[in-house]
Amino acid sequence: MTARIGVVTFPGSLDDRDAARAVKIAGAEPVSLWHGEPDLHGVDAVVLPGGFSYGDYLRCGAIARFAPVMGTIVKAATDDGLPVLGICNGFQILCESHLLPGALTRNQHLHFRNRDQKLRISSADTAWTSAYEKDQEILIPVKNGEGCYVADEKTLDGLESSGRVIARYVGGNPNGSLRDIAGITNAAGNVVGLMPHPEHAVEELTGPSVDGLGFFTSVLQKLVTT
């Protein structure tokens, strides 16, 4: 049975079609989810894609987090362990809805920056990173204007000591994120937020590598074993 992975479209989502493509290449069936409908159509996992939901107005992800579909997703992620991957704008939405701690703020250098970025996977113990090895280095694009991860010292220490930082920037920090944090997970390891875009590194022809595919195949492994 092919796993079904939902990809949410908010007004202004941009990388939803790319996320769906990545899901397909990984071997699962992408299911389009509309922001205005609370129904998840029985999907096995959900991706909150990149983009500028609601134009990034007010704050990135601030309005999208109140979408009807998010109510269902928050509950399913908290109560039922639904795997949720938030990419870029999706990460911002996860922080705004408090499924993940901290916040994403304006890049330190104040510019939008699109780069092929080296990352180190710091935890392979989550639903979305199990296909990688710990400390594996991968190359995937990062592209954002508000990607600087911040949290207070206590939170950051807590994330690190509990192994909840899942990826860090290496070879340069593209946005000023504290402790070079590129992605984090919640305590249960089913909700992951990642600033860079793995869905843009799934084909040799169009990406800097195919290193991004692991995020999508990881969750398939998880679904098979559940």
């Binding site: 408090h98 499924l99 250098h109 104040l110 949290a151 207070d152 206590k154 939170t155």
Partner: protein, 120 residues
């Protein structure tokens, strides 16, 4: 129709690169007395009728739920023309909306209380 103003600022400990860039630019334009700048947002909220305590409380809840991100921002609410009645960023679980913010506090462990700085 009356207007309530909500001022939102980044918490003091949060890096404000935009404010810094502005502060760096001012001396080059001849403004030598200015030593620091922090950038925030001002929301002008229109309400029907008079500004009662209930109205202020509702705007305060809106400020804590949507207009600001309590993880990184503080806010102040006042009726236009009045000085800020009080700094508001504490989380009183008066209804479901605020409970949302409380859940955030539990998750992030960042205190929701603001500092006692007044607005500029």
């Amino acid at each position: 129709m009356a207007r309530v103003v909500v001022d939102v600022m980044l918490k003091p400990e949060i890096l404000d690169p935009q404010g810094q860039a502005i502060a760096n630019a001012l001396p080059t334009l001849g403004f030598s007395a200015i030593t620091a700048v922090r950038q925030g947002k001002r929301f002008e909220v229109e309400v029907d009728g008079e500004i009662t305590d209930e109205v202020l409380a509702e705007v305060t809840r809106a400020a804590g739920t949507l207009l600001s991100n309590p993880v990184i921002e503080d806010f102040a609410v006042r009726a236009e023309g009045e000085p800020a009645a009080e700094e508001v960023a504490t989380v009183e679980a008066t209804d479901a909306d605020a409970a949302d913010v409380k859940a955030a506090a539990a998750e992030s462990s960042i205190a929701e209380k603001s500092d006692a700085d007044g607005p500029a």
